[in-house]
Every structure is written in C-alpha cells, then in structure tokens.
Amino acid sequence: MEDDDYWNTSETKAKAFSFDDDVLSTQEILAIGQKSYPGQKEESIFSNVNITTVKSAAVPLNSLVSSKVLDLILLAQSGKDPSKETKLEPVETVAMTLKRLTLGRSCSLHVHRSMKSKTELLDGALAIGDGNAVLTVVLFLIQTLNKKLVYELLSSRPVALNHYIAFLQNEGKITELTDLLTMLGRSPEAAMYQFQHAVKTQGNNIDVLFRKLTNLLANHFNQPGVDQHQAKMVADYIKLLEWQKHINKPDLKYTSVIQWLAHNCSHHWHEGAGNAMSPLTLCQRHQITPLQYDWVVLNVHAKAGKWDIVESLFTKKDWFGRTTVSSNIPIESLVARLHELRGSTQLLATCVNRVASSDDRLRLAHIYKIHSVVIETLAKQKDRAALTNYKMTLSPQSEEYILADNTLRDNVSFTNNQLLFSLFFFFRVNDMSYSETTLCQPNIFSFKVTKLTGAARFFEKVITALQEEEKK
C-alpha cells in the first residue's frame, strides 16, 4: 500500500485527527468490538463458551487425593461412624457426646441427667464454638430442666442465649421469646423482636398489623428502658397505617411516607393544607423535613415534565427582575439532579449563578456544560486566555460561540496573573537577556499596563532587588 493511499483510506482518515496514544472513546471501542468478521455468526460467540467444559479436568481426581482419603472425606460428610468404631461405649462422657455432636453424628443427650453434666455439656459446646452443638444442648436443657433453671444458665452465657433467641425467632415462637427476654430484664429488645415479627408476618394485612402494633405500643414500647425515639417511630407507623386504612387505596397500601408524598404531589398537588390528600397535610403529620419535601416535589414534577411547577417553586424574581433560586436542596446537588432530570439550560444557569464562589461556579458550569455561565464568569474574572481557549472548544457560529466572541471583544482588560507575568517578562527583557522574550506570548505586549495591584507591586520590589544585586 502506498503511503498516500494509506492516509486516504476511510478507516485511517477518521483516526488521523487523534494522536496514537490517545484513549479511544467508549463508542469507538464498541464500534471496533462489535464489527464482525466475515463468516462469523453472532450466536457462535455464546454457544461456544461453555465454562463448565473449559474448567473441568485440570487435575484428575486420583492425583488430587488417594481413594482412601476420598473415602474418609465421604465418611466425614455423612456423619456416620467409621465401621470399626460402631460399638457404642456403654457410658457416654460429656466429652464424647460433644465430639459426636460436633462431627454431626447421631447421639442421645438423655444419658446426661445430673445438673452438673448438663452444665458441663453447655460449657463444653460453647468452648468448642459449634453453634449446632450449642443449640442442641440448649434445646435439651429446655426439655429436661425447668425454665427458671435454664434461664439462669442462659443469662450468664450470652452466646448460648443468642442461639436460643435466633431459634425462637426463626420458629416464630415470639411469645416464648418475649417471656425469656422480659425475665432477663431485656424487655426493650423483646419489643423490637415482636415488632420485627409482626411486620414480617403481617405485612400483607393492614388491619391485623394495625391492631398488633397498637397493642405492642401500648404494652411494650412504653416500658421504662425503651428508647423514646423508637417508640415514637412505632407511633408514627401506626398513624400512617390508620390513615392508609382510611384512604383505602389498594395500590398504595404498603408504601412509605415519601412514596405517599410523591403520589399526593402528582395527583393532589392543588389541594390545600388541611385536605386529607394534600401534600402539605402529609408533611405536617409525619414531620417530613423541608429538604425531603423539596426533593420529592422536584423529582415528581420534573419526571412528569411539569417544569413550570418546578420553576415556580424553586425560582423567584427579585426586586430588580432577576431570577434567583431558593431551595432547601444544597445548590450542587440541585444542579446535579436537574441535569440528570434534563432540566433546561436556562434553569441550570440560574442555579449555578447562585453559587457565590466563582471557582465553584466555573467548575459546575464546566461539568454541566452551561456555556453562558462559563463565559460570563471568565469575563468577570477577566481571564482572557481561558476564555479564548474555551471559545475554541465551542462549535463555530453556535450561539455560545458568538457570545464568547462578543465577550472577548468587549473585555480587553487584564487579569492580575497576566499582569504579573507581563511585568516579569518586561523587566527581564529590559535588564537581563533577550532570549526570554520567546517565552512570552506576543499579545501580552499589546496591552497597556494601567494600574499596579498589590501583588504586582510586591513583584516589582523583588525584581528591583534582583537588579540591584546584579549591579553589585
């Protein structure tokens, strides 16, 4: 292939704009990856990659473990006794029982009848740490000892107690669990376990749930020791359920307060405070924070395309007729969200303009490509170079481009930075060497130095000092 040809093929032409070590965009990579070769069917890609066939038989079984070892592994899994040891010893010691339990072998605990051996069983199981053994022993104690004795044993052995709690919880034996915890002086926990059980099992029946929770609140969550805030949350839950029962909308039965609020915002937006379905009523009843309220309103209306509502809520005109933003949502988050929701550039610009620090404003405007704000801010900063650079990134003759162009033409003053540099070079050109001039941009000299700022004066002093030193 001739060199000229090479540069003219369509493939390379597109590439010629970018340097070779540039990173391709994801679209470009996808284009390369998705281009298929002749004779290749799309399906073959999937059907040929069968992971299980690829993976198998790296090392054959017999060189992994010997057959005797394999038998041992199978024996251990089955939990059976090895054939040699089948004869059960007549007297089972505590240690033997615990070992059998840990190995998953069958064993009867009923030989252990004295309180001493029962206690030893429990402590041994705890020392080994096998939860299966611990729970088995606890349940055996429950069967064979009176409750008071068991609870005494459990109260000083928290790990055993936790196993029993988990068991009762999984079995749904909530009354027993409550008795146990109340007896141990842990009724606040009992209240929470009951709550968890109620919402997990009765979640599909508002009436039953309402009744259960009301009961729970009255009898358990008002006990001393129960966290006030937890009790309040349960009370709020009941309030919500009551209201949901009253409204009776099947599709909204189990939704959260915020989801209700979203529903009310989109369906009952114009109902005033005091009305049952008004968003404001809901806010009052459930202490929805202004931040949460604003967020929901923003999302609901923006997603429904009702930008007029969004704008009327979040912007207002000041005395001079300028539009400003007022929202409880911090401005950066607001801008980010508006951008995600595809809000108008004008709205975004209004928001970003409210950012006080010009650096932050510039950063946000850059991220969300709000050209007007970038141009305006750069102009205010009098950063001519940056504005010129920014102009280059805009597509020629677009609205933004023209704006940037006009701004550049109208604003010919200097930034402090550039002033410093020009001063610096000015002095060096005059007093040191001419070679430095090449470092300067030619246009720097075309501007008049109008006034010296503090920093520049400082610089001037430094340079004067340098000059004096050189003279010596």
Binding site: V65, V69, L74, A95, D236, I288, R337
Partner: protein
C-alpha cells in the same frame, strides 16, 4: 501428588464435590426427580452438568416452588440450602403429597439434600411433623469453588446473616470441614493464624476433625503448597466492606448482581437504581435477558488484566486492546491467511471482542451512574477514616438521607460514620427518621440488627444512661469506637498520611489511598517477617489474634486430646484446642523468637479465609502485597460480598 501447581489443584476441587454428591445420589434410588432451590443452580453448575446428573439417575429437574404439584417420578430429591424456612416449605409440600396419597409413606421416596449441613434441629422438626422415617435428610458439604485464579468461595451467601446478625453459629463447622478437606489436597500449612472469635472456633473444630479422622495413610508432612493460613472474622474489618471500592471489579460488584462468579450485565436496572426511590413516570420495561459475564481470568484474559486496576485506568487499557484488534484487521490478509485465521484464531478473537464489548458497556454504566457523586463520596469517606471534619461529614450523610437516599448504600455510609467518628443521639435519630420516611417504618428493626452485627453503634439517650436495667449493656453502648478505630488503624499503619499521593504500589489504592484492608496488613506482616516474634510484634495491635499449626504442636505438653481438654475445662471459656492466644506465648518467644520454625514462610504462599464474605477490593489489595513481596496469596471466603450485600443481610 505435589507435582501439580496449586491453582490447578484448587480448580479441580469440584471433582471431590462431585464424588460427594454422587455418594448421596446413590442412596436415593434409581430414577428420580431433582427439585432444586433456584439459588443453588449456579453453584451446582460448577460441580456437574446436566448430563452428569442424568448419568446418576436424575430424570427431570424442577425449580423448587411451593406450588409445584406433580412431577414425573415418584422419587423426589429436594436440593436446598440450610435455611429453616425453605426446609419447612419442602416439608409442607411433602406433607400435602402424603395427604393425597398416603401409600407414598412406605416407599422411602423423599430425600432432602441440604447444603452445607443438616442441623440437629432439622431432625427434630422432621420428627415433630411426623415425617421421621419417611423423609431422609442428607448433608452435602461441597468444597470451595475456584471462581477465579487465586479466589475461592464456598458460595453460602446466607452465612453472614446467620453468623453476625443472628449470631447463630450453627453452620460454622462447615467452614472447618471445607478447610479440613482442602488440606487433604494441599497438605496442612505450618503456620496458622486466626483473628476473631469465630475464626478461633473454626480452628478448634478443624483440630477435632483432624484428631477424629487421623489415619495412618494420611500425609502428616506439612504443606508444600501453602505456607500459612489466616482465618479472619468479617467483623474484624468492617471498614473494608463499608468503603466504596476504586477498583474495576469492586465497582462491578457495586452495580451488578454477581452470583457464583457470574455477573448479570443489567445496564438498565443496576443495583444503584433499584435501591433508590423511583418517583414514577418511568414504566418498567419487560425484563430482557441480559448478557452474563463470567468473572474468571482463565477464560477472560482481558478481565484478568483489568480486574484489580484503579477504575480510572481501565478505559485506557480497553482502548489499547481495541487498537490491537483493529490492527489485526482481516482485510489486510490474503486468502490463505484468512483461511488460517478462521481455523485458528477467529473464535478466540470473537470471544475477546465480545468480552471487550461487555467490559466497555460495564464501564460506561459505572461512569454514568457514579461519576457525579464519586468525588464527594470519596472525600467524605477519607475524612471519616481519619476522624476529620465530623460536622461536614455528618451534613454530607444527612443530605443524602434527605435526598437521593439508597436503601443499602446510604445505610452503609451511616455505619461507616458511626464506626469511625460515632454519632450523637440526635444525629443518629435524625438519620433513622429520614430513612424510615423514605423506605417505610417497617424497617425500624434493621437498625437493631445493624447494632447486633456491630456495624452500627447506638448512642445512648442522655435520659437513659442511668437506667438500671440497661446497666449490663452500658459499656457496649458507650461511644467506645470514638477514636478507637483510628488509633488501632494507625498502629497497624492502615491509614496512609497522604491519600492523594499513594501509588499503585500501596494496597490502599483500592480505597483511593485512604485505607489498607486488614487482610493485606496481615499478609504483609507474615510475608516480611523472619521470625514468629517479629510477625507478632508487627501485629500486636490486632485484637484476638491466635496462632495454631505446628507452632502450637511444639507448645503442647505432650499431646492433649479433645477429651482431656474438655475435662480440664473449668470456667474458662476458650478451648484453645486448634489455636492459642498470642499473649500466652510472649514468654516463650523471648527465649525462642522463632518457635515452630515457620518463618520466613516457606513456601511463600498464604491462604486467607474471610469468615462472613470477602470483597473484591480486599482481593485486589492482597494482589498488591503479593507483587510487592514476590509471593502468592489465595483468598477464600464463604462468599464474595459487597458492602450493600452486608446491609441487605440486616433487612
């Protein structure tokens, strides 16, 4: 048996699982139906294929469903995880079949295979339902599965919830069992360490297995494959789970569901989107079938190259790969070359391309969903880690709770703040209230679960602190985490002083230079020490560190069997059968700093086992340590889980 490299031995562990399953299926009669719980399908695929099941008498396969009525064969083999609700559901189904056809009771036609273990309570439940003798229960403890090079998982995702939230340790012995059979393949490592209570129990039980099944044909030499084993409880380093990872694989697990090493490339409905409140308008489209990516470097070399990379580098790697592909363009080839290409490389290239496309799609999704908030999140997390700007960190979290709240990730942030800087009573309640308003009051119990799991510290109410009934728990409820996190992390050098300036040579890059996962610290200490005393000195700030293995054997005054141990057990609560508290070794180590003779580690290979789920950032951090020290680190766990998975386990 030592000629094979360790990684291929580990990849072949599924053959042992296969034998174990075969052993069970032989007991279940000739022609039978398999009724499988959907969560077990993917793991089972790693053990055997449908053809293999056919060969072993399985006629038809059904998904477990409470409504499932008749199946093709009389013999039913149910295959479920050790979850009491699923178990009871199966028993109910069997009971209703029996009520329709009482004759089935005598046919011994019901079998339930339970992974990883049949618990004693399951037997009692069977008995209480009158099904004892009619239904047969089988333990199936499958082996660790090699999901990727140097990454092993037992694939029991429900274990974290049981072990840490419910504090029910019933299945803990399964982990011991998996280590026990693993060591038949690799040999026993000389040096063994445990961090945390559960890990210590695992080593104790491992020793019980060793003692019980000691046979003369077993290889008693120490392992030539693995120099050291570290077992660590998840709750010893929650920070690594709570922080947002910076690596590619870490971010993949943030956005996509990964089950048994298979990633569901659902770019429309990511875990990020699903966890947030949806304010209407968007109609959910019919769920289309997504591409599935297998996260295994041996089949996807591209993944191997980018999995541990800081996400900012990934696209440039993918881009360079795309350019290479472009250069291999087929148009430039002659006819003969094309033929050759089609015959040899085409398939490989098409697979590579497909992988490339998938990774790019995944990257795009990560960028579009995370880039906005990533910087602020990263900043806040680093500030929390170093206990700086508490007020603005709280404001940051509080604002998220009030606006773009996520059902798991927001909780996770709250937990991180609570553990690193602690929350006041009012701050805590402000967050709880907002969370409940957003997702429903029913989630009130979630916070209690988080507290039980040690993921969250509940500040005590000012009014409550003198309540007598609470006195027992008072010490737990005081804000003891205040600065304790930082002081501990500083002692172990987990917090680099200048997060921005950390290069890829520090394991902390997995969290933007902010934090080094504890597993990486442990591995590094063991790999860079010449004596046991040196290693322990480096790790003196690690709480609940124990040692076992040959070191312990040398300490035993004669061989003490379990029976002796148990009968000598007085009121002390620790068995110290498989491992010993390091503090008790201090004296001996003074006179003999390298007791046991394990250091420097030989072979320079470590197996780390995280109890309660490991995450991809930790794996990547270990990879750095491995490169820095010229060693091999294999990471194993009961599952691979992200911070969001940890939160989900509390709901």
């Amino acid at each position: 048996m030592d000629h094979q490299p360790l990684s291929s031995k580990l990849a072949s562990l599924s053959l042992i699982s296969q034998c174990k399953l075969k052993d069970i299926l032989l007991l279940c009669g000739d022609k039978k139906d398999l009724i499988i719980d959907p969560t077990l399908i993917k793991p089972l695929e790693r053990i055997c294929g449908v053809n293999w099941l056919r060969q072993h008498g399985i006629d038809k396969i059904y998904k477990m469903d409470p409504q499932l009525s008749s199946t093709a064969n009389t013999i039913r083999v149910y295959f479920i995880p050790a979850c009491i609700l699923k178990y009871k559901c199966v028993l109910d189904q069997i009971a209703s079949l029996l009520s329709q056809n009482p004759a089935l009771a005598d046919l011994k036609c019901f079998h339930i295979i339970i992974v990883p273990k049949v618990l004693t309570t399951y037997d009692s439940v069977l008995e209480s339902k009158g099904l004892y003798g009619i239904v047969k229960l089988h333990t199936f403890s499958w082996e660790l599965m090699a999901l990727d090079e140097q990454l092993l998982s037992l694939e029991l995702p429900f274990l974290f919830k049981q072990l840490f939230v419910e504090q029910n340790h019933s299945l803990l012995s399964s982990i011991s069992m998996s280590l026990w059979s693993l060591f038949h393949v690799t040999g026993k490592p000389k040096a063994i360490f445990s961090v945390g209570k559960l890990s210590a129990s695992i080593l104790d039980m491992l020793e019980i297995y060793n003692e019980t099944y000691a046979r003369d044909f077993l290889d008693t030499h120490s392992s030539k494959d693995i120099g050291a084993l570290i077992v660590i409880d998840r709750n010893q380093d929650y920070a690594s789970s709570l922080l947002t990872p910076a690596t590619y694989s870490g971010l993949l697990s943030e956005l996509f569901n990964i089950n048994c090493g298979h990633l569901d490339l659902n770019v429309k409905e990511t875990k990020f989107k699903k966890g947030k409140l949806n304010f209407g308008s968007e109609e959910e489209g019919a769920s289309s079938k997504n591409t599935v990516m297998t996260l295994d470097s041996s089949t996807d070399t591209l993944y191997g190259e980018i999995k541990h990379r800081h996400f900012s580098e990934v696209l440039s790697v993918l881009s360079s790969k795309a350019k290479l592909l472009k250069n291999e363009d087929i148009k430039a080839l002659g006819i003969q070359e094309i033929k050759h290409f089609v015959a040899t490389k085409l398939q490989q290239v098409s697979l590579f391309k497909q992988n490339l496309v998938n990774h790019v799609l995944a990257c795009e999704t990560i960028i579009s969903e995370m880039s906005n908030k990533f910087e602020n999140l990263k900043l806040a997390e680093t500030e929390m880690l170093n206990n700086r700007n508490k007020k603005s960190n709280f404001t940051f979290v509080d604002e998220i709770f009030g606006t773009d709240i996520h059902i798991y990730n927001s909780l996770r942030l709250m937990c991180l703040l609570s553990l690193t800087q602690s929350l006041t009573y009012d701050e805590y309640n402000a967050l709880v209230s907002k969370y409940l308003l957003a997702f429903g009051y029913k989630y009130l119990y979630v916070f209690n679960n988080l507290i039980n799991a040690g993921l969250l510290v509940q500040p005590s109410s000012p009014k409550l602190s003198l309540n007598i009934s609470n006195l027992g728990n008072l010490s737990d409820r005081l804000p003891k985490w205040q600065n304790e996190f930082q002081s501990n992390a500083n002692k172990l050098k987990q917090l680099p002083s200048q997060a921005d300036k950390v290069g890829a040579a520090s394991p902390s890059y997995v969290f933007h230079g902010g934090y080094i996962p504890l597993v990486a610290v442990l591995c590094n200490a063991l790999l860079t020490s010449d004596t046991l005393a040196e290693a322990l000195a480096k790790l003196s700030a690690v709480t609940d560190l124990r040692v076992g293995g040959t070191i312990l054997e040398k300490f035993k005054d004669g061989m003490q069997t379990l029976n002796e141990k148990l009968s000598n057990l007085k009121l002390q609560n620790d068995l110290e059968f498989g491992c010993k508290d390091v503090r008790s070794l201090a004296k001996v180590l003074k006179s003999e700093p390298n007791k046991g003779g394990c250091f420097p580690l030989k072979p320079k290979t470590i197996l780390v086992y995280v109890v309660g789920g490991v995450n991809y950032a930790e794996v990547a951090a270990c990879d750095v340590v491995q490169t820095n020290t010229g060693s091999k680190i294999f990471v194993a766990s009961d599952c691979i889980s992200s911070g969001a998975d940890l939160m989900a386990a509390n709901t």
